[in-house]
């Protein structure tokens, strides 16, 4: 064991404790209030309008491997997928999920199936609602674009690990007249989304999606823990900079 390992484990332990503490507090105050993110407030309305208009909802989970770092935004996308699938199940056109990785495709099918089961409409579920669009980034983008065009998707939610190919998907969504809410952990993708998407999620806002769609109190608690540790990081950075300037470190 070295210092970095101890530091890393301590950080994870503190994070875990903070999540538990905020979870307990959230049960008392109902989760508290989250800062307003315009994208999430407008998405609920867009979902309702899409359902009423008989349009399709499309959610894409990216191409991040489930056993890698890119799995985090994909898992957030899965939580959002399940929540939205319950709402959109009453639409004339069922919701479709696309992904660029095999495990994500399987998990997306399971999430949608779970939503249909909870609504007691399992007979309406079709495994083809969760699709693998492509195995390479551009192949994945090319497989996703027809879903936007041909399936008449009015709302496209892109939550996961995307690269530069997200520009093609966002461009297709704009050309079809649909609304795009997108978020990625990739910095180049975020830069592209700021210019190309209607509702971009910058920074770590993509990780807050599950809390904003009210997936559970623990999601809100983890969001609060993130905020708390962010302040800790700021303090450590300032302290380190000061020590460096002072020549101590």
């Amino acid at each position: 064991m070295n210092l970095s390992s101890i530091t890393g484990f301590g950080f994870v332990l503190i994070f875990f404790i903070l999540m538990l503490v905020f979870f307990v507090l959230s049960r008392k105050d109902g989760g508290g209030t989250l800062r307003d993110i315009g994208a999430f407030s407008r998405i609920s309305r867009a979902i309702g309008m899409a359902v009423e208009a008989g349009k399709r909802l499309h959610i894409s989970l990216g191409r991040g491997s489930i056993i890698g770092v890119q799995a985090a935004p994909a898992l957030v996308g899965l939580s959002v997928l399940e929540r939205i699938a319950r709402t959109a199940s009453m639409s004339d056109r069922p919701m479709i999920s696309t992904s660029g990785e095999g495990t994500l495709a399987i998990l997306s099918q399971g999430a949608m199936k779970s939503a249909y089961r909870n609504l007691n409409i399992l007979s309406q579920y079709d495994p083809n609602y969760g699709r693998l669009s492509g195995l390479t980034p551009f192949a994945y983008a090319c497989g996703t674009i027809p879903v936007i065009y041909d399936e008449e998707s009015s709302l496209n939610i892109l939550l996961g690990h995307f690269g530069s190919e997200i520009a093609l998907i966002a461009d297709a969504s704009e050309r079809s007249g649909g609304m795009t809410l997108a978020g990625s952990d990739s910095l180049p993708a975020q830069a592209i989304l700021y210019a190309a998407a209607h509702e971009p999620l910058i920074g770590e806002e993509v990780y807050a999606a599950s809390a904003y769609v009210q997936a559970g109190l623990m999601h809100t608690a983890s969001l609060r823990a993130q905020d708390a540790l962010r302040w800790l990081f700021v303090a450590v950075l300032f302290l380190g900079a000061l020590l460096k300037l002072a020549g101590i470190v």
């Binding site: 101890i6 994870v12 495990t103 399987i106 083809n128 693998l132 952990d185 910095l187 210019a195 990780y207």
Partner: protein, 211 residues
Amino acid sequence: MKLNLRAPISSSIAIAVGFLVLLGYFFDFGLLTALRRVFLQWAVILAAIAMMVGVANLFAVHWTKIKTWQAGSGYSLILLLSLLITLMVVGFFGPTGSWTLWLFNYIEVPIESSLMAILAIALAYASARLLRRRMNPFSAIFLFTALIVLLATVPILGIELPGLHGPDGIRSLITGIFTVAGARGILLGIVLGTVATALRIIMGIDRPYSE
């Protein structure tokens, strides 16, 4: 009474394995390290199998489109034919065979390069309409920074302007300080979100594997 044991069993496995791998990453004990390595190998194998499952799912989706004569079924037919041909060629000649490389070099790479070119046009279009879509000071700063970096990347009419080009130019200042700082800050936030997501899975809060 029918008991559904799948959910608690799968949750237990997920929580236990995640916890062991996490501990094994921080604490280099004999048994812990060995367990971690075994789990990692299993993960690698499962990832490869998951890719094959994904390919099978891709085949099934497009096959359904062809059977039901949905819109775009022609493209699905081409896709399935290409898939089968590629499988046959690679399976026969090997992954580094000449015909395999020919398919890759003269079909795969040009297609994706063309998509990359389209991406460039889409990015230029999006940049041109940014102020129409989002009229605020941040958008203006975004555009100004992009233009400065682009200008400082290449010589303007063969001339490198001092203060703009070179290691002491504004481009180096932007890319070396501001961009790096902003990127690090965002990455720190992404790390926090990643850890939170992972901990939720280890705690059993998020169960993407359950139906």
